[in-house]
Each structure stands twice: as C-alpha cells, then as structure tokens.
C-alpha cells in the first residue's frame, strides 16, 4: 500500500517520514534530559520504563485518534469524544458499583458509546448540521449526562476485573497498550479489508461525486461517527479503570483536542480524504512522549503546552503544501 503511494507522489517526502522523524527526535530529546529513558526492566511479568509509560499513557488518546481519523477523513470532526469518555466511564462505574457483573458494565458502556455516535451521525449525515456544531452539542450536554449518572459524585468501585483494564498487563505490556493495539488492528481490518476505507476517503474528498456514484454516503457517515464514539467509550473505560472511579467532571477533559491534534499531526487533512490510522497513532505518541519528557526533565508542566505547540507547528510546516511549493521554486532557482 505505502509503496504505491510513494510511487504516485515521487516529488514529496515519503509518506510518514515527518511523523516518524518527529517521534524519534522527541525520544532523543527525552533521552538527553533523562538518560534512563530507554531503560526497560521486567517485573512481575510486565515491562516497566519510561518508554512503556509513554505507550501506556498515550493509549487513550491513540484509541480516540483511531475514530477521529475516520471522522476527519469524511471531512467531519467530533468534539464530543471527551464527553463520551466521561459518559461511558460513569455508566460502567455506576453499574459496577451497584454490583452488576463486569461484562454487563462493559457492554452497557459500549452501547452508550454507540448511541452517542448514532446521535452525532444523524445530526451530521441526515440533518446536515455542520459537524463542528453538531458534535459541540454532545460535548456540552454529554458531561451533563455523565454528571447525572454519577449524581455529581466521583463514583468509586471495587472490581479487580474492571481495574485490570487500566492497570493490568498482557504479554508483558500494559493492558491499555494491548487494547490500543487490538483496536488499531480491528479498525485497520474493518476499513482496509472492506470497501469502507474507499468510501470514507471518497466521501471526504468529494461527497457529491460519491453520492452520484451510488455510495450510501449517509450510512457510511453515521457508521463512522458511531465507531468514533465507540473508541471514545473504550478510552473512557481505560481512564475509569485506571483511577478505579468515574469523575464526570474531569474524565477525558480536553482530550478531544489531543485526539484531533494527533490525527492532524498524523497527516490526515482536516479537509478530508486520504487517511492513515498508523500515523495518527504515532501522532498520539508524539504528544504523549512530549508530556512525559517534560515531566522527566523537571521543568514545570506549564512548558508542556508551549513545547507541544512548537512541535506540532514543526510537523505541520513539514506537510504544508505552500512550503512544499516554495521549496520546489527555490530548488528550481538554485
């Protein structure tokens, strides 16, 4: 797949190079400020270390980025993922605290997530409300729903099974990382081994031509928003399991912005069309690696936001079509 894309665009940088390079540079800087950054140790059958920490902490945003990539590829946006995380976490925590078995709690959270996505999808695809506004509704109202579920309290629960989602491990890796990998794999299979990927890219690049070609643009758009909300629900479960409690006010707060950032850093245009799931996940890791690096360096976390902005700017500049054109002109003159 990637070799084909390179062949069709020989004049631009190989796809994914800016993102991978940025991730390596951030890793390198982390190593400079903290020499043990790459050190790994095995304890109780699980790997520990700063690198593992980046993966583990980055997992929720990486999962959000998967769904967000598909939404953005259809030329949409989903601002409600943070709120959906809170709703799903609150649902699962409340059911667990009331003694329901784990599968029921998880299924309920996933169901609530899908329902949220259906709502967003109908607003966008059927009622043709601009995605920004349509999902803003749930972004605002969703946190209210979550607070209604938790009745304004932080619901804590005792359930080793649920807690394992946040702090357990599998095949030496933290459970959250495994979940993110499985979600990446499933999402990849669903979009690339069916025709959905083609339909999503066609809709994002030209929704009218796609509809004229007989593509069920509304159904595909709704499905994409549902998948995005399902990803958000899963990320919400991880965050909730991690702290063994549902905090309706803070769970997933502002994470929609990190997810959008991860997708954009991953090279998927906000104008829709071509998308890459793997690069979006790398985008999420770049963001998390910077967060971790600043913590490790001992600088106050306030720097985090500024450094983040600079790195994001650098990655975006590397992809800017205007700068690519300027480079081409300079080369011709030279």
């Amino acid at each position: 797949m990637s070799s084909v894309i390179q062949a069709s665009a020989p004049r631009t940088l190989p796809k994914g190079l800016p993102q991978v390079a940025a991730l390596l540079i951030v890793f390198l800087v982390n190593w400079l400020v903290f020499r043990d950054f790459f050190a790994l140790r095995l304890q109780d059958g699980r790997l520990f270390g700063s690198l593992i920490d980046v993966l583990n902490r980055g997992a929720p945003v990486a999962i959000l980025a998967l769904g967000m990539t598909l939404v953005i590829a259809t030329r949409g946006i989903d601002l409600s993922v943070g709120a959906v995380m809170a709703i799903a976490g609150a649902t699962a925590a409340a059911l667990t605290a009331e003694g329901y078995p784990l599968p029921v709690a998880l299924a309920a959270a996933a169901g609530v997530g899908l329902a949220c996505g259906l709502w967003n999808g109908i607003l966008v695809a059927v009622l043709e409300i601009q995605p920004f506004v349509a999902t803003l509704i749930l972004m605002v109202a969703g946190r209210g729903f979550a607070q209604l579920i938790t009745e304004g309290q932080i619901i804590t629960f005792v359930s080793d099974g649920f807690a394992a989602i946040g702090s357990g491990s599998f095949l030496m890796l933290p459970m959250a990382v495994m979940i993110a990998l499985v979600m990446l794999l499933i999402t990849h299979l669903v979009v690339r081994y069916t025709a959905l990927g083609l339909f999503i890219e066609a809709i994002g690049a030209n929704v009218r031509s796609s509809a004229y070609a007989g593509v069920g643009t509304k159904a595909v758009t709704i499905a994409v928003y549902m998948w995005c909300s399902l990803c958000a629900a899963i990320a919400g479960l991880i965050v909730t399991a991690d702290i063994r409690g549902a905090d309706a006010n803070n769970a997933g707060l502002w994470l929609e912005l990190d997810a959008i950032l991860a997708v954009v850093v991953g090279g998927t245009s906000l104008f829709g069309g071509r998308f890459s799931l793997v690069l979006a996940v790398i985008g999420a890791l770049i963001i998390q690696a910077m967060n971790t690096g600043i913590l490790l360096s001992g600088y106050p976390p306030e720097y985090n936001l500024i450094v983040k902005a600079i790195v994001v700017l650098a990655v975006l500049l590397a992809q800017s079509p205007v700068l690519t054109a300027v480079r081409a002109v300079l080369r011709r003159k030279a």
């Binding site: 069709s8 081994y193 069916t194 025709a195 083609l198 030209n206 007989g214 069309g273």
Partner: protein, 502 residues
C-alpha cells in the same frame, strides 16, 4: 421602444481582455450601456459573461482594455469599490447577510447613529420608506433570511441603487423565481430604467429577454459576437449568434438508421418537479440514443438529475421494463442499473484526490456493498481493462484522477459506469471542454454503446453532434420539453428553429 441611441453613454467598455492560464476568457470585448437602458448579456457556458462582470466589479484584474463610466476611466479594486464608483451587482444567490434584519442589510456600514449608538428606529423607518418605493411593505426588523429569494433580490437591488448605483448588474436574477415573481421584478426594473439607471441583465431565458430588454449583446468563447437593439434581432438570429452557427442551406442529418422499435427500457410519465422542470413524458428503448437539446438553463441538466434521483420528482411516475419504480436517490438509480456522467465533472463526477483505479471501481463497489470488497487484483484488472478499452492516457492506474486532462477524466467516468454493466446511461455534456481527438473518440464510444444495446440519454450543446448520433431529440425551452423530433426531423437546423420558436 426606447430611443436608446440618443441617450448618453453610461458605461463604455473597449477592448477588454482577460486571460487565465490556458484560456483567454475575454478577448478584446466591447460593450456599451446607455443610461435608462436594460441591456441583455447573453451567451452559453464559457462565453465570458461572468468574467466580464467580475472584471467590471473588481473581482478580477483586467489584462487590457478600458472601462469608462460617465466618460471617466475607472478601475474597480474590489466589489465594494465598484459599488462606490456606482456599479452595483445583484447575484442569483443573494450575497447579503441572511441572519441580519432587512434594515441592517440595507444600511450596513452606514447606519444612522447618534453619540456612537446606532439609531435602530431611525434606520428601520428609512428602510421601510426605501422599500415602499419598490412596492414592498414588509417588517424590516425581521431577518433577511426569513423572506423569499424574490424579496431578498428586491432588497439587494434597493440597497445597490440606494448606494448611488448608476449601473446595476443582475446576474441571472430570475433563475429561482416563479412567473409572478419574475413579473414583479420586471416592473421594478422598468421603474429603475425610467430613473435613468443602466441595467445589465444576464439570463438564459429568451422569453424574458424579449419581455424586458432594449438591447442585447452576445458573447461566445470570450469574444463579442454582436450587439443589437432587440427590435432588429429576431429570435432565430439570437439563437444562432449564441450557438455560433448559421442555418445551413441543406439540412445535414445522420445516416438514416431504421427506427428503433420495441418496448421502452425506461419510461417517465408526467415526471417533474416544481421550480425545476415542468412535467414531461420520456421513453428510451434499448439500443436507442435520445438527445436532449436546448440552451443553457432550459432544463436539460435538470431533466437528467431528476431521472437519476439527484433531485426527487414531485409528480409523475418512472417505469423500468414497464414496471413502476421509485427513484429517490442516485443509489436507487444505480440499483436499477442506470449510470450518469454529470456535466460538472469536477464537483459532481470525479473524486480528484483518489486514483484512477479507485474512481473507476467506485460505482461498482458501491453496488456490491461495503462488505464485499473487490479484491485489489480484480480492481487493477478492471481499471486496466478500461484504460486500454477507452484509451485513457495515463502512465498507470494509481495516478490521482485530478491530474488527468478533461477528456481522460470523462473517459474514466464513463468507465466507472461501464464497469457496472449499466442498461441505461445518461451523459450530460460528455464532450464539453475536451480536446478534438478525445471528442471524436467519445462520440464513437456513444455509437458503440448504442449498438451494444444500451439505452442512452445524451445532453449536448453541440447541435451537429447531437443530431449525428441521436435517434430522437427532445428540445427543451424555459424548463419545458417542448417538442420531440424523430426520423428525418432530427437535424441541427430543426433543433435550432425549435429552440428559437415560441
């Protein structure tokens, strides 16, 4: 009849030239507008009407030529500057602010104020007074968007005129109005004309041209074809100026084929949609080419879009193989094995960013459903087969389709539908904007498809072309199917006289 020639020259355009990469949109065009004159500006697609207006109002810079207003040479920097110079423009899609009140729209940027505060009451009083001069008694405090397009247009006109416009340009103002609304708009135009305002009226409706214009200027392919007082310009001459052909001495028509008989594959009875196209009857048999001819805006594309389910019919019934069917979306039409290559290739046809392969398999894949992905190898085989069959010029199937020339894009779009093995193909201007070689190939392809037993509905502005391959030709005028020509009647001349008759 106004003695326009004795009136002073208000706007004088001489030698106006404007080029875009690869095309000369305006080539030394002259245009003269007198005060108190309604001047029709006509021409088919790509004639240069919009470019002329855009250069005049400062949207584009001109490359050469002069523009004089009241004898003074002017150059508008942008539309606001043009308005301050005295040239106001009202577009089909009103370019005011629908969320603001009517009064605010009329006085935006020049609200009456006192002590830095807007005097809303005063503004509303003046707005109501202004509009009453146009026969509009509406509540000016309501948002502009709550009124019909016709009312919004009158408000836009009132605003332009009130801002000291001497020249008023109306770009297809009647395209979305009904007959009565058009009538009241014309009354207003006549009132403005009596006040000495010069009006440039762009339209595609010949009846309206003859109802209201004093003088007509026709452009074609960026050049001035001619400018004449309406009284000296019979309809047939106007149509021939627009289409760029004279009545031929001997009627040219196709090699006579035996008339196609048999049951129609598709039929439409009393099929129509309000404000889009008057109800029509149409039937196409397998192996038959039916042409749709008419001027731009006559309802050809609207007919195609209605048939393909892009627009929903509000009257009549569609039949396939004699059985009633419902076509509410393009997806429905595609399921009935219809295909449609739209006139506007860029925005409705190709998905520019995707590869030729993906564009070709898109309709077939959509029909198979998302679960049944066409294997990559099969996709490549389909794409390469059509690239070869239709001679699409490209190094490989993975190139983004947007990088191909117009003719090759058109062939790829044909391939998209041929891959679905359609029974009925609708081709809207299949040869527009493509080079001569590809042009001939597409016509040969149409004839070949017809021999293979496809039912074809083809729209074209090229009368010779449409007469050469059509078994029957439906002529449209002012959004109505006015006449169906068949057999020996199918000739460019008959089509032209039918378009011009009334």
């Amino acid at each position: 009849m106004q003695p326009t020639r004795e009136r002073p020259e208000l706007l004088e355009i001489r030698g106006l030239t404007k080029g875009f990469p690869g095309v000369l949109a305006l080539d030394h065009v002259d245009f003269t507008l007198h005060a108190g004159e309604i001047h029709g500006l006509l021409g088919e697609n790509g004639a240069g009407k919009s470019t002329l207006i855009k250069v005049l109002t400062g949207v584009f810079r001109r490359d050469a030529g002069t523009v004089r207003l009241d004898g003074q040479e002017i150059t508008a920097r942008d539309p606001a500057d043009a308005l301050s110079l005295g040239i106001g423009t009202v577009y089909q899609e009103v370019n005011l602010l629908p969320n603001l009140s009517v009064a605010e729209n009329l006085f935006i940027g020049r609200q009456p104020h006192r002590f830095g505060l807007v005097r809303t009451g005063e503004m509303r009083r003046r707005a109501a007074e202004l509009l009453s001069g146009y026969g509009l008694a509406i509540d000016v405090a309501n948002p502009l968007g709550s009124f019909s397009v016709a009312v919004q247009q009158i408000i836009a006109i009132a605003r332009a005129v009130d801002l000291s416009a001497k020249v008023l340009i109306l770009d297809e103002p009647t395209a979305s109005l009904d007959a009565q609304e058009v009538e009241s708009l014309f009354e207003i135009l006549k009132g403005l004309k009596a006040r000495g305002i010069g009006i440039v009226f762009v339209t595609h409706f010949l009846d309206q041209v003859y109802a209201v214009c004093d003088r007509i200027t026709v452009l074609r392919n960026g050049r001035l074809v001619g400018s004449k007082p309406i009284a000296e310009l019979p309809r047939i001459e106007l149509v021939s100026m627009m289409l760029g052909r004279e009545l031929a001495d001997e009627a040219l028509h196709r090699n006579q084929r035996p008339a196609v008989t048999g049951e129609p594959l598709v039929a439409f009875k009393n099929y129509g949609r309000r404000r889009l196209i008057e109800p029509f009857d149409l039937a196409v048999r397998p192996g038959e080419v039916v042409g749709l001819a008419g001027l731009l805006g006559s309802g050809r594309t609207e007919t195609a879009k209605l048939i393909f389910g892009v627009e929903r019919a509000d009257s009549g019934q569609a039949f396939v193989d004699g059985k009633p069917v419902r076509i509410a979306t393009p997806r429905d039409a595609a399921r009935l094995r219809f295909g449609f290559t739209p006139e506007d290739r860029k925005t409705e046809g190709i998905v520019a960013e995707l590869s030729i392969r993906e564009n070709i398999v898109l309709a077939l894949q959509a029909q198979r459903g998302w679960l049944h992905q066409i294997p990559r190898g099969k996709q490549e085989e389909i794409a390469n087969r059509f690239i070869k069959l239709l001679d699409i010029r490209t190094p490989d199937a993975e190139k983004p389709i947007g990088l191909l020339s117009g003719g090759n894009q058109q062939k790829a779009l044909l391939a998209r539908w041929l891959a679905t093995e359609p029974r009925f193909l609708i081709l809207d201007e299949p040869t527009r904007g493509i080079d001569v070689g590809a042009h001939a190939e597409i016509i040969r392809l149409i004839e070949r498809l017809c021999e293979d037993g496809l039912a074809l509905l083809v729209i074209s502005s090229e009368l010779e072309e449409i007469a050469s391959y059509s078994d029957r030709v439906v002529v449209l005028r002012d959004r109505r199917h006015v006449r169906e020509l068949s057999g020996a009647e199918v000739s460019a001349d008959t089509i032209m006289t039918t378009i011009a008759s009334h």
